[in-house]
Amino acid sequence: MTHMRSTSSVLVDVELLVNGRRLPLALDPRVTLLDALREHLGLTGTKKGCDHGQCGACTVHLDGRRILSCLTLAASASGREITTIEGLADGDRLHPMQQAFIDHDGFQCGYCTSGQIMSAVALLDEPCGPGEADVRECMSGNICRCGAYPGIVAAVQAVRQGRG
């Protein structure tokens, strides 16, 4: 029996622009953006729930729009603007959405929370209708197994209405 020669680990140069910082990396081309953040950059705020684009835990912003970092190869994000949960607050001042999640208890275990908040912040600039049902729909790519959905909807609505 012959063995197929396995993929050799050639590295590619990648420059990730994360939360305003320029981060050069030499990565295995198979590394996802999610694993680049978590395993190579120590930015573990972005979570892995499924690694298959099915749960939303890994949501980050790429050039201002929400994407699933587990379905994005790090190399393909090279040079583009990435925002993660760690980049949302302004120093000690939380982003209004982060504060609203605390105020409305929009989480329990916290594991889906980064993804929920990144989706919720992106939603503010999306054509999502005004009602609660609209928010539920627009937030349905982010699973919360703890069942914090009512608090999540309340948080999103509070921020949207606060912006008036």
């Binding site: 295995d28 939380l94 275990c109 908040i117 069942g147």
Partner: protein, 714 residues
């Protein structure tokens, strides 16, 4: 401070991504382990070719039954269910379920390990597995040991046959619940680090001391050689209450390669090797007189377990205590299947058991023409009917009343298919929720530090339950200091010993220990001449002691109350459903849950926990079902697009009422626990509402479109 609806104290960490979950600890020289799983459900491994994997770039080792270190007693030294589970630790070549670990590949990177794991070539001697519960039902055997070492596996009061003969109406039906897989959002993860012969495990767990003791025994180490750290766990629901195979395998792998190893299960790997709720097949016979007085209840529950460990889903327990029926018999039987061993799943026993019992009671109400709440009130148990003991407290009547009022139960017209909104059929249903109030021994330490802050420590757990928050509230309250002077630390087996966080007993167990330690520290501060609430005086006494901190420890344990009282939380849950009669589409538009669970320490986190519990119950009612390939026992829908759980748009209005209830007996804090009860009763309330809406009685969860359409044809 106790009873204040304060925000979660770990909220800031969680919304900024700075809460550290187990896979996220920065560890030097970390390597990555990936588990390879069996592709058959029963048999032995005939041959395994690991050479391609071993030669793949970055691979440090491939561990199989051929080269794994031999563990004491064949890896069984720690087995003592449910505290220590029977695991698969590469000690032999047997295969007992599809997806059982058969090798671990360790490499420099996750990508390299994942790729190399795909290169293993395995040949099996395959045998015919038993994986179909209905086919295996005739092999069910009575379970005869105590369930969880505590509850009798069967019960008998009065004479059920006589009671059924006396009945004017008897409902006899079989209800089934499927295999349900927890699917906490955080995958199970363990980092194992050896420093000489000391092992540290960063583990996603509900029980740091349990993991520590189990791993020590299994590997033949002393307890003091193992430390377990778990500061934040990303949801658990029972699945992380035990150390499963990957935890020990991570430790074995790290020793083998001489480097720290991280193993994070893939979502697919969470179907089978880390437990789930077993199948239940519940046969119920419930008899009553014309006036609704129950004459008998008989419940026979068959649940599934693996071929190598007995796990019993205790779905009969609520049947023994919920109604004042004179004649009640229950029995638990087990069927052994070639599937992974089941485990605690939110409201273990009661969540599945109330589906059977509370559906049957609803069927009875319909047959008798009695309102379902009225039927329950006519059989209200004013003492525990099984033991004769008084309740430590019980406010179920108030739950029915307040819940019905909030839900506007009175608008319900009794006949099925009698309520409509446009093209939709509307149905209103209800069920009883209940879960026992449990407690275990626990301990805690409280320390006044030089800056006047107070550190309180107990090796308990945070997985969304609000433990950091409520323990801080308890300690601050006992010390008479503001919340922000207290810091609570948990999740480390170097801290004072605490029980598993499961069975809704964290607050009832750890809470009294934290309270006692805080009171003891308060007294020590006073004896030293300071006032705990006066920071300056606190700083002075520490300075006077040359900076040595002032500490107190305390232990707290249940007393004789269990022999004197029957202790349970109760609730009533109401569901409004909309059914499209043409398409069979079902939506739960609204749920109201009214609960009495003793004192509520933090209404904000408590309300969230109840909402989460109800959504978990809706998930059981509408979605969850682990599909098994009948040919080879393969878990067919092992991911989050095929294994359905509710998303935001699936969840309608949820209204939670937490009733005031004072309980002087249950424990010093008067709390009964909230984690489980929210899930109980929900599936029955939905099924009962579906019947009211459509006239279709669904007795097999989850309630699906095909059942609604098939039922309406009849």
């Amino acid at each position: 401070m106790i009873g204040a609806a304060i925000d979660r104290l770990d909220g800031r960490q969680k919304v900024t991504g700075r809460a550290t979950y187990s896979a996220e600890w920065p560890i030097e020289r970390l390597s990555y382990g990936v588990i390879v799983q069996s592709a058959i459900a029963k048999g032995t491994i005939a041959a395994m070719d690991v050479s391609a994997a071993e030669q793949a770039p970055g691979v440090l080792a491939v561990i199989t039954a051929g080269n794994a270190p031999k563990l004491p007693q064949g890896g069984q030294a720690g087995v003592n269910p449910p505290a220590g589970r029977a695991l698969t630790l590469l000690q032999d070549t047997r295969v007992r379920y599809n997806g059982e670990p058969i090798a671990v590949v360790i490499a420099e990177s996750f990508e390299q390990a994942t790729h190399a794991a795909s290169l293993l070539r395995v040949n099996y001697h395959e045998e015919q597995p038993a994986v179909d519960i209905m086919q295996a039902l005739p092999t069910a055997e009575p379970y005869t040991k105590k369930i969880l070492g505590q509850f009798e596996p069967f019960s008998r009061r009065g004479d059920v046959d006589a009671g059924l003969r006396d009945a004017a109406v008897v409902v006899e039906a079989t209800y089934t619940t499927p295999l349900e897989t927890h699917n906490a959002m955080e995958p199970h993860s363990t980092i194992a680090v050896w420093e000489r012969d000391q092992l540290t495990l960063y583990d996603a767990t509900q029980y740091v001391y349990g993991v520590k003791r189990f791993v020590a025994k299994t590997l033949g180490l002393r307890d003091d050689q193992v430390r377990v750290v778990s500061k934040f766990t990303g949801g658990a629901f029972g699945s992380k209450g035990s150390a499963w195979s990957h935890v020990v395998l991570a430790a074995m792998a790290a020793r083998h390669v001489g480097r720290p190893v991280k193993i994070v299960l893939s979502r697919r790997q969470m179907f089978g090797p880390v437990g789930g709720r077993p199948y239940t097949v519940q046969r119920l016979r419930v008899g009553a007189r014309h006036d609704g007085t129950l004459t008998a209840i008989d419940q026979d529950v068959v649940s599934s377990t693996s071929t190598f460990e007995d796990w019993v889903e205790s779905s009969t327990l609520q049947t023994r205590m919920l109604y004042a029926a004179p004649n009640v018999a229950t029995a638990q039987r087990l069927v052994r299947l070639n599937l992974g061993t089941p485990t605690f799943n939110r409201g273990p026993g009661e969540s599945s058991g109330t589906f059977g019992l509370e559906s049957a009671i609803d069927e009875l109400a319909w047959r008798l023409g009695v309102d379902p709440i009225e039927l329950r009130l006519r059989n209200y148990a004013s003492v525990d009917p099984e033991t004769g003991l008084p309740w430590s407290s019980k406010s179920l009547r108030e739950c029915y009343e307040r819940g019905a009022e909030r839900f506007e139960w009175s608008r319900r017209t009794p006949a099925p298919r009698s309520m409509r909104d446009g093209d939709h059929l509307i149905g209103l249903g209800m069920a009883t929720a209940t879960y026992p109030a449990k407690r275990m021994p626990a301990s805690a330490a409280a320390t006044l530090t030089a800056d006047g802050a107070i550190l309180v420590e107990a090796a308990t757990h945070e997985f969304g339950t609000g433990t950091y928050t409520v323990m801080t509230q308890i300690a601050a309250d006992a010390l008479g200091v503001p919340i922000d002077r207290v810091r609570f630390e948990l999740g480390d087996s170097n801290l004072p010993d605490n029980p598993i966080s499961a069975g809704s007993m964290t607050v009832s167990s750890t809470g009294p220990a934290v309270h006692a330690a805080a009171v003891a520290l308060r007294e020590r501060i006073r004896q030293a001449g300071a006032d705990p609430s006066d920071v300056e005086s606190c700083r002075r006494i520490i300075a006077a002691a040359a900076g040595a901190p002032l500490s107190a420890t305390a232990a707290a344990a249940p007393g004789a109350e269990k022999a004197r009282y029957s202790m349970h939380a109760f609730g009533a849950v109401f569901a409004e459903v909309r059914v499209d009669p043409e398409l069979g589409e079902l939506r739960v538009a609204r749920v109201v849950g009214a609960y009495a669970a003793g004192r509520i320490l933090n209404p904000k986190t408590a309300r969230s926990q109840m909402i989460g519990g109800i959504i978990y119950g809706l998930s059981m009612a509408l979605f969850e079902h682990t599909a098994i390939d009948p040919r080879n026992g393969r878990y067919l829908n092992a991911d989050l697009s095929e294994y359905l759980v509710p998303v935001n748009a699936d969840v309608g209005d949820i209204d939670v009422l937490l009733l005031d209830e004072t309980d002087e007996h249950v424990n010093p804090l008067g709390v009964k626990g909230l984690g489980e009860i929210g899930t109980t009763g929900v599936a029955a309330a939905v099924a009962n509402a579906v019947y009211h809406a459509s006239g279709v009685r669904v007795r097999d969860l989850p309630i699906t479109i095909d059942q609604l359409l098939a039922g309406s044809d009849r």
